[in-house]
């Protein structure tokens, strides 16, 4: 697939998402804003899992670091949204860098367990400092505290536009990154790390970089989620929120730029639609997921790449 067609396809998605806000009914309009923020989280996860081949079970730690880095600045620091967002992103960069230094000493299952354990420690830390974080119950960020550069982010249109802007930014970063030499080296590490090392690359430094980029994007999504939807709670640091991006990326297609969005959209509406049919909606969702892993093991976009768009990044 030629570089220009790749660009048209990816920019087309962003243009389509931008245009949709004018035609969607209110319910789906709200859903899509949420999906775009969550998809930004999945894009971050995909950098580490899909492209570098490192399966983390602790990304909720980064998502929550962004969310609480932002929310605590507003709630207790009296900051306005812009510096608070920045604080959230920085918190994610620092936390992912520190965790990378420890966790990257391991590989495979040990890496999964180490990331899972640190994320659980992060979750418990949030509960422990309940005086500040309000623990499980969490806290609401008031409408007046959510005005960014004069734009009230609690309004649906502004919120949609902010979610779109965030998603577009991380989506384009991801598209750019995986076509750069650095990103190509990450893909090579996923394919055969020992060979990369014996070509003269410092694979540890590359994996460290991938994990910080991944964690920082995840934190950006977490900070935006808290700000756009006006709430920060410990459930966002729970293991569930580490599993979600893994599922989204697997369904959409690990190691594809489009996959995280497609997977998040698919999973969101799968649960949304099946819960309209029966209270046992997780059963329907579960069966669909099993079918997908049987018949599209590389995810939706992964299958597309295999069958039609060879060379899709």
């Amino acid at each position: 697939m030629s570089a220009s067609r790749v660009l048209v396809l990816h920019l087309g998605l962003l243009a389509g998402l931008f245009a949709l806000q004018f035609v969607l009914p209110a319910y789906h309009h709200g859903n899509l804003a949420r999906i775009m923020v969550l998809a930004a989280y999945a894009v971050g996860y995909n950098i580490l899992f899909g492209y570098t081949g490192l399966l983390s079970l602790g990304h909720a730690l980064f998502f929550a670091a962004g969310m609480y880095g932002m929310a605590l600045m507003i709630q207790h620091g009296g900051a306005s949204p812009a510096p608070a967002l920045l604080a959230g992103v920085l918190a994610g960069a620092v936390v992912s860098g520190l965790l990378a230094l420890l966790a990257l000493r391991t590989t495979g299952v040990a890496f999964m367990i180490v990331t899972l354990m640190f994320a659980q420690a992060g979750y418990l830390t949030i509960l422990y400092f309940a005086e500040w974080t309000r623990g499980d119950e969490g806290f609401v960020i008031q409408q007046a505290q959510r005005v960014l550069w004069g734009i009230d982010l609690s309004q649906p249109t502004a919120r949609y536009f902010a979610a779109w802007a965030l998603f577009s930014l991380v989506f384009l970063i991801s598209l750019w990154l995986v076509r750069r030499p650095f990103g190509r080296t990450l893909i090579a590490i996923r394919e055969n790390e020992e060979r990369v090392r014996m070509l003269g690359y410092d694979t540890f430094a590359h994996k460290l970089g991938a994990m910080v980029i991944s964690g920082t994007i995840s934190a950006g999504a977490g900070a935006a989620y808290g700000l756009l939807f006006g709430y920060a709670g410990a459930s966002f640091a729970s293991v569930q929120y580490s599993i979600f991006p893994l599922l989204w990326v697997l369904l959409g297609g690990a190691g594809t730029v489009l996959g995280p969005f497609v997977g998040t959209l698919f999973m969101f509406y799968l649960i949304d639609l099946s819960s309209g049919i029966t209270s046992a909606y997780m059963l329907i969702a579960g069966v669909v997921l099993v079918l997908l892993t049987l018949f599209a093991p590389q995810g939706l976009v992964g299958e597309l790449r295999k069958r039609i768009f060879r060379g899709l990044p």
Binding site: R184, A188, E191, N192, R195, M198, L199, G200, Y201
Partner: protein, 237 residues
């Protein structure tokens, strides 16, 4: 002039002495073959030279610099290139990208494509550059490994059993390639195939039970009684 030397290099794995007190030198511009029966410690020795295996004792000196404590990727950057005994390529990526990954460490970005094309031409894989590497035949995958080594323009190219599993015709092509490379680089060749060793090498070191048994020109090695007893006489080669 000596490009690579080892001094008293030893390695033991949990008490098993794989390599014992090996000191040898590779002269610049030579094709230096390292031979020995299975289990003689050849791959372990080369692993210590290129940094995949940490030595228990001894030193590795490359171009006058003690590199014993350098990690593998730093040694590669000094001008070593290593091709694996068991084919180790990026099976899911295309052939050109395999070589480009090797080239990017050495060449500035605008020259990578040119260097990749040249290396692929040298080993005869130019027609396959868009093919997925995993779809290549085994012999072509071995050649791809060599192209990945060549494109780095190494000062020392270490080839670990490059002809293993190749057909007679492919081996003949490989001999020609190796002789052509002599003008460009120094080669350390770990090899089982005696015809390749005898026809291409300038010097041969024989490793047996983890120690250097003999060293000399191919003719001297062929005439060496100890080598015949330990290796040639008992081998099917």
């Amino acid at each position: 002039m000596t490009l690579l030397s080892t001094r008293g290099l030893s390695k033991s794995f949990d008490g098993l002495q794989a390599v014992t007190d090996v000191s040898f030198e590779v002269a610049k511009g030579d094709i230096h073959a390292l031979i020995g029966p299975n289990g003689a410690g050849k791959t372990t020795l080369v692993g210590m030279i290129c940094g995949r295996v940490a030595p228990s004792a001894g030193q590795v000196i490359f171009d006058g610099q003690d590199i014993t404590d350098l990690p593998a990727h730093r040694r590669i950057m000094l001008g070593m290139a290593y091709t694996f005994q068991i084919t180790s390529i990026f099976r899911g990526l295309d052939v050109a990208e395999n070589v480009a990954l090797a080239a990017r460490r050495r060449h500035p970005a605008p020259r990578v494509a040119e260097a990749v094309a040249k290396a692929l031409r040298q080993v005869g894989l130019a027609p396959y550059s868009d093919e997925t590497a995993g779809n290549l035949s085994y012999g072509h995958q071995r050649l791809l490994e060599i192209a990945m080594g060549l494109v780095q323009q190494p000062r020392l190219l270490i080839l670990d059993e490059p002809t293993q599993g190749l057909s007679e015709g492919e081996i003949a092509g490989f001999k020609t390639l190796v002789r052509d490379l002599k003008s460009e680089t120094t080669l350390l060749l770990i090899e089982h195939n005696m015809s390749v060793v005898m026809e291409t090498a300038d010097r041969v070191s024989v490793l047996n039970a983890g120690a250097i048994l003999a060293e000399g020109t191919p003719a001297e090695i062929r005439a060496n009684a100890a080598v015949q007893a330990a290796y040639l006489g008992t081998s099917d080669a």
